[in-house]
């Protein structure tokens, strides 16, 4: 019964989306208030019906209703209740239901929080979201229905949730990532609505910024969490694999980052308009492309759900309509945009556009690396694989000019910056950072150039950020009390850049100074790695609710003092017949100790992988700081909805504020 109700509710949601796509847009084009006002209630309806369908599916999981095919394939009576709730997005159909739920949530958020936006713009934005929604609801109903029944012959028990997904990180990783992906649909809708209306101005940029920030914050957290999960769960001690699906989430992030900065310029200086619009379209397009890559099984990856060409075709058709259509509209409308502001070669505008270009180059590198194997094969040139070395090398080339611009940008003025002043600050910053790196590396043998480069870049960003805050303080001339005068969005920028510096530091240290050993050990044996003594106590049997396995116990000593006890597990999930590694990690501010349990060898010894990973927490910590920066920026008064009522407020008043 629940399944049928849920299914019916989804049909109603589709109906809402269709109405939403038609009436408000019609009203906006004709100037009819009544039609425009239907946008909000229709959006709320869309959300409520989707939510109801989602709740129905969740309840079916909790009730272990194995007459529903999707439940039978992704759950089991032995599965703990919290995993039964998260199993809703453990497979293809359910994760798509979550996708549309989050989509509807964003739409309703736009409807509720945009009181200051003129009705015709809001009607258009919601109508665009409705159009995109029609495609997705059609897809879920026609090609990927989670409520399909297995009647009359249904299984007594389910096939269990993929054990890879039975982990806390996995409970929140997909929803966060989807919040990010789908969040760009709002920015996209704003851009398309502005193109349709022919009104691309500073107010458009100001409305888009908080939504872009919100999506970007979620995406940042989602990616960081995914990386943390892979580190813990896959048992190779890696944190980023350049897997096609990781790339698919990284591309919207890169473009989203570019968009954040470009929107700032468009809002402040009314330049780069057509570029910003293109980025807004690209961010959502890449999110959709990511969805396609995961759903279609076109690329082999740990994330792929089963291949099914009909589903792939449907999504590809959707991509062509949504992305192709919007790019066509862009090609027709963008040439009429004129940028008003003027700026010199040495100015903040130039630095920001430079960074934009580098971010887009990085996106292209990732896109090419991801799709090239496919293109190569389809051209009949044979199968190739592009691995981490290619991406690593390209990113090393890109990061140096990127950081240089990142350091110069905030220190430069809009319009025109004097070379001499900038040069002095840069040299001082560079000198200080080299000195700091020298001190940090004193006494370390086996110095790596890559690590030194990464550390220098990281420290330089941090120093330049401090320089910029000082420069701003001396401008307001209040001493330290002036710190309060800085806007939240300014602090957002400061945190964003500091977080980025922390991430670079983590990456540089981990890639260059990680040590790992594959060892065979018998109980009582110990090995030494970088001053840490790992003593192997032995292996015990393990029984969980839906798995059995082994757990290896180790004590870690430094100079004879016990500092940690580690338990590395190897689990065998009985229903899915899968073996999973649960690595044991002793986290630390400057290093992680990481042990993964391998196979038992013929003579009773065990194979173990032992790692010492310096500064790896900094990678995710940096991402968290960046996300915090994004949140701070969002809290800026300027975006508060009450203020937006005065949308006609002259932009020039804001020109003195920060990015």
């Amino acid at each position: 019964m629940l399944a049928e109700l849920g299914h019916f509710s989804l049909v109603l949601a589709l109906l809402m989306a269709i109405l939403l796509a038609i009436y408000p847009m019609w009203g906006a084009q004709r100037g009819q208030q009544v039609l425009m006002q239907t946008a909000k209630p229709l959006t709320v309806g869309l959300f409520l019906f989707t939510l109801f369908a989602y709740v129905c599916l969740t309840q079916s999981f909790i009730d272990n209703d194995f007459s529903i095919a999707y439940v039978a394939h992704n759950s089991n009576t032995l599965l703990p209740w919290y995993y039964r709730m998260t199993a809703v997005w453990g497979g293809h159909e359910g994760s798509f239901l979550l996708w549309v739920l989050i989509f509807a949530l964003w739409a309703v958020a736009v409807a509720v929080f945009s009181r200051g936006i003129p009705l015709d713009i809001l009607a258009r934005v919601l109508a665009i979201l409705g159009m995109v929604g029609v495609g997705f609801y059609l897809y879920i109903l026609l090609a990927s229905n989670p409520f399909e029944r297995l009647l009359p012959f249904y299984p007594v028990d389910g096939r269990d949730l993929n054990p890879l997904l039975q982990d806390f990180g996995m409970i929140i990783h997909p929803p966060l990532l989807y919040m990010g992906y789908v969040g760009f649909s709002v920015v996209f809708a704003f851009a398309i609505a502005a193109l349709v209306a022919g009104k691309l101005d500073a107010t458009w940029a100001r409305w888009s910024r908080p939504w872009t920030l919100a999506a970007w914050v979620f995406l940042t957290l989602g990616i960081a969490l995914g990386s943390w999960w892979a580190y813990k769960e896959l048992g190779w001690g890696g944190w980023w694999f350049w897997d096609p699906v990781e790339n698919a989430s990284f591309m919207p992030w890169l473009v989203g980052t570019a968009l954040l900065h470009s929107l700032a310029v468009t809002e402040k200086r009314k330049v780069f308009k057509s570029w910003t619009v293109l980025l807004a379209i690209a961010a959502f397009s890449l999110s959709l492309l990511g969805t396609f890559l995961v759903r279609s099984g076109i690329l082999v990856s740990v994330h792929s759900f089963a291949s099914d060409p009909t589903r792939g075709l449907f999504i590809l058709g959707l991509l062509v309509l949504v992305i192709g259509g919007s790019l066509l509209l862009y090609a027709l409308r963008a040439p009429q945009l004129r940028s008003a502001g003027r700026y010199e070669l040495l100015s903040r505008e130039t630095m920001l556009i430079g960074n934009n270009i580098l971010l887009c180059s990085a996106t292209l590198v990732v896109l090419m690396g991801t799709l090239l194997p496919l293109v190569h094969k389809e051209l009949g040139l044979g199968s190739i694989s592009i691995g981490a070395p290619f991406f690593d090398q390209m990113f090393v080339y890109l990061i140096v000019p990127f950081v240089l611009l990142l350091v110069m940008g905030p220190l430069s003025r809009w319009k025109n910056q004097s070379l001499a002043a900038l040069r002095n600050q840069l040299l001082a910053g560079l000198g200080l950072s080299l000195l700091a790196v020298l001190l940090l590396n004193l006494g370390r043998d086996g110095l790596s150039y890559m690590a030194v480069l990464g550390m220098a870049l990281s420290v330089w960003i941090a120093i330049a950020t401090v320089q910029e805050v000082r420069q701003r303080l001396s401008a307001v001339n209040h001493g330290l009390a002036g710190l309060k005068a800085l806007t939240p969005s300014h602090w957002g920028m400061v945190l964003g850049h500091l977080g980025f510096a922390a991430t670079i530091m983590g990456i540089a240290m981990v890639t260059s100074y990680s040590v790992e050993r594959d060892v065979r050990m018998s109980p009582g044996e110990q090995i030494e790695l970088q001053g840490y003594e790992f003593r192997f106590l032995g292996v015990e049997a393990l029984t969980g609710p839906n798995y059995t396995g082994h757990v290896a116990k180790l004590d870690v000593f430094v100079e004879g003092k016990k500092i940690s006890h580690l338990q590395a597990q190897k689990r065998f999930y009985t229903v899915q017949r899968n073996v999973m590694t649960e690595a044991a990690v002793d986290p630390g501010f400057t290093r992680d100790l990481y042990v993964a349990l391998g196979e038992q060898l013929s003579n009773g010894d065990w194979a173990l992988r032992v790692y010492v990973k310096p500064y790896i927490r900094w990678i995710w910590g940096g991402a968290a700081i960046m996300a915090l920066g994004g949140l701070l920026s969002m809290s800026d008064k300027r975006y508060r909805m009450a203020r937006l009522v005065k949308a006609s407020e002259p932009v020039s008043k804001l020109a003195g504020e920060s990015v």
Binding site: A282, I298, I323, L327, P335, R520
Partner: protein, 189 residues
Amino acid sequence: MKRIGLFLLPLGLFLLITLFLLQGLFSNPRDIESSLLDKPVPSFSLPDVMDASVQYGPEVFQDQVTLLNVWGTWCVTCAVELPFLTQLREQGVRIVGLYYEQELDPDFGGKTIQQIRADINKTVSQLGNPYVFNIFDHSRDTSMDFGVTGAPETFLIDQQGRVRLHHVGDLNERVWQNKFLPLYQELSQ
């Protein structure tokens, strides 16, 4: 309107990508095409698995059409195809084995060469021996150069020593008739 060309660029790029995605949808990502096709076999110098003093190089593929079969006694599917391969040998097909040992790790070590030889002798005496000889890829480097992703895999190599076909998975009657035989007959003439 001159500038419109520039603004059409993203659309063009997107449509181009779409074409490839469309094509990719209908091909199996696990269906791997060798990048060695129509190229000479990679160079190598490896011993015979039974006799370390005998060395082989790419010249063993000259002047004869050869099937190069990648296998190991640890591989279950390889055992399944041995009888059929033996039939082929009886029909006059030249089959060379490229042997690699799963339980011999370059770092960890593992099985001794004596154990490996004993296992091979046991397996081929039970299931048939299709091989003229077996090249022993102890470090698995040559398998990598050939683009081997697992075992069993079979390459058809022509008289000039060029790879003409790469098959992943077991070689059975159906695969032989449909995939190998036409090309094999053409090359043998």
